[in-house]
């Protein structure tokens, strides 16, 4: 069954664009990463899903129910953390858990919440106004996860968290997904999504520009190659094969290192290093490289970073 189905969803803010024709399907038990640069429409999509905003057109459904009309029923099974977390200054976690367990009608929520408090190293009786930004973020996460929701929607949840707490959160989300819970995580940071998610969609200028599994994306991502030429070797003298795309040429002499260049007749390593992308057959490239006499050559793992950077750069026509 699908946890989230979004069909031709549009939402505008007056004359300002929000999102247009967004289509998404997220399966139950999946960890879904929603990526995009700032202002691309991630939060707008999430706000429509949470019933805060009404769609201008199209439909958004969670567990088969309409997000606007069946909002209260849907939200029983959803845990949500907003992008810019703001909580009541007087709220303590203990009080928050008590209130939410009454609102949700779940007595066991309190005990589970206190387990999470321990895991996230929080003080249950400290009011929000005395907490740091990171701790406030953790409180919001605890309150969103304490009722063990079937769907967890997190809008940039790691902002403000230290790396250890980011790991704790990731571990927590993986556990939930293992137990069949669905996770939707929005972010503009690739690394956290890359390591966590099974399924990724990239939104740019309010439109979905990529919707695929991490495995498929990784397979389509190019490998990065760094070649260092010998001091006596000229970049132009090498006959480069068709399997590669040149991304960065060696630095020219007389540039930033000109002072160093004047004192030495041999080019510096920076002046001999070029970056390439493998776009063709790797075996043919390796055969070609083996016949060359370079000072050094390194081939990196397939990098989604390059792929994402291209998607993010909205004005480039090379998609």
């Amino acid at each position: 069954m699908q946890a989230i189905v979004i069909t031709d969803l549009c939402r505008n803010y007056g004359s300002r664009r929000g999102i247009s024709n967004v289509n998404l399907k997220i399966e139950e038990g999946e960890i879904f990463g929603f990526l995009g640069p700032n202002g691309s429409g991630k939060s707008t999509t999430i706000r429509v899903l949470m019933g805060l905003l009404r769609a201008s057109s199209g439909a958004a459904a969670i567990f088969g129910k309409d997000c606007w009309n069946d909002g209260p029923t849907i939200r029983r099974d959803v845990g949500y953390v907003a992008g810019d977390v703001r909580l009541y200054p007087w709220l303590t976690i203990r009080l928050g858990l008590l209130m939410l367990s009454r609102i949700r009608g779940l007595k066991e929520m309190h005990a589970r919440g206190l387990d999470l408090v321990e895991r996230f190293q929080l003080e249950p009786d400290l009011p929000i106004r005395k907490m740091s930004r990171g701790n406030r973020q953790k409180v919001a996460l605890v309150l969103a996860l304490a009722h063990s929701p079937k769907l967890i929607v997190l809008d940039e949840p790691t902002s403000g968290l230290d790396p250890l707490m980011q790991d704790t959160l990731m571990a927590c989300l993986r556990e939930l997904a293992t137990n069949g819970h669905t996770v939707m995580i929005s972010s503009h940071t690739l690394s956290e999504v890359e390591t966590l998610c099974d399924h990724i969609a990239i939104v740019r200028d309010g439109r979905i520009v990529e919707d695929s599994t991490v495995k498929k994306l990784r397979a389509s991502a190019p490998r990065q190659i760094v070649i260092t030429l010998r001091p006596d070797q000229e970049f132009e003298s090498v006959r480069w094969p068709n399997e590669i795309k040149i991304c960065q040429l060696p630095r020219k002499r007389g540039g930033q290192d000109s002072a160093l260049a004047e004192t030495s007749s041999t080019p510096t390593p920076m002046e001999r290093t070029c970056q390439l992308e493998l776009i063709g057959s790797s075996s043919r490239f390796i055969t070609w490289a083996a016949a060359q006499d370079f000072a050094d050559i390194s081939i990196g793992a397939p990098s989604l970073e390059i792929l994402f950077r291209r998607y993010y750069q909205s004005n480039q026509g090379d998609l």
């Binding site: 949470m50 019933g51 805060l52 907003a82 007087w90 009454r102 609102i103």
Partner: protein, 271 residues
């Protein structure tokens, strides 16, 4: 709903306590000072003639011609400090949701709870009614306590006092529901409070101008809430102001329903 009421309790208990104590004190002081004020009322009018139309506007009758020990008790219930305290509380309270929540960024948290917006609105309404009752009754308690020490002929009967309180409560309902309405249309609490206070001030001034200007007298029943709150007439005639209360409750109900529908159907943009 219990969880929401608990949230409201935590947020408003101190302001409600302060407003209740404030009104209790003001009503006590005014009740204690009333005999002295009455003794010198005509001197006041001779020295400051502008006071007379102001009091006429507030009371609905000319205090110089009709002053009696009991009618003058109506001063208490129309005193600007008393009205300001009650209205300040409700304008602040009724602008909390959604304008206040959006303004401080907590709307995401509140509106993503598994509750419908109507449930949230109901809980807010319960808090508004309960807190208003506490504050108005505190004021009455202050008056009652001190009135035991004043001359018996100056004391109002419980029935007349209760009639005035019911009329004041109807005014409370009308202004509160208007505040709710403005709040549901706004994303800024300060703006919502500003609009309500401006309208209240205009309504108050219109009631005052109606003493001098015919055009103001003509439109006052349509636009001034004070035209439906006349404690002096209630005390003088002893009649229950059915019409005034019905108008205020009708307006209040209409505004409350409109607020609920706007809140229910509105997209709330928190960014």
């Amino acid at each position: 709903m219990i969880g929401l009421l608990q949230k409201i309790w935590v947020e408003v208990r101190w302001p409600v306590l302060f407003f209740s104590l404030g009104l209790f004190s003001v009503m006590s002081v005014l009740t204690a000072l009333l005999p002295k004020i009455l003794a010198n009322m005509n001197q006041f009018f001779d020295k400051m003639p502008m006071i007379r139309p102001l009091l006429t506007a507030l009371l609905g009758v000319d205090p110089g011609n009709q002053a009696s020990a009991q009618i003058s008790q109506a001063f208490l219930w129309v005193h600007p400090t008393v009205l300001s305290l009650i209205w300040a509380h409700e304008v602040m309270y009724c602008s909390r949701v959604p304008a206040g929540e959006v303004d401080r960024g907590t709307a995401d948290f509140l509106l993503c709870l598994p509750l419908s917006r109507w449930e949230i609105f109901w809980a807010e309404t319960v808090g508004w009614l309960v807190s208003g009752t506490c504050i108005i009754l505190s004021g009455y308690a202050g008056h009652l306590l001190i009135s035991l020490t004043i001359q018996p002929d100056m004391r109002l009967s419980v029935l007349k006092s209760m009639t005035v309180i019911v009329n004041l409560s109807a005014v409370y309902l009308a202004i509160g529901s208007f505040s709710f309405f403005v709040s549901t249309m706004s994303n800024r609490r300060g703006r919502a409070i500003g609009i309500v206070f401006t309208v209240l001030l205009a309504s108050f001034l219109l009631n005052f101008l109606a003493q001098f200007q015919d055009w103001a007298k003509f439109i006052s029943p349509w636009l001034s809430v004070m035209a439906y709150y006349r404690p002096a007439i209630i005390i003088q005639s002893g009649e229950f102001p059915w019409f005034d209360i019905a108008v205020l409750v009708f307006i209040s109900g209409l505004m409350w329903l409109a607020s609920g529908f706007v809140f229910h159907y509105r997209s709330i943009c928190t960014v």
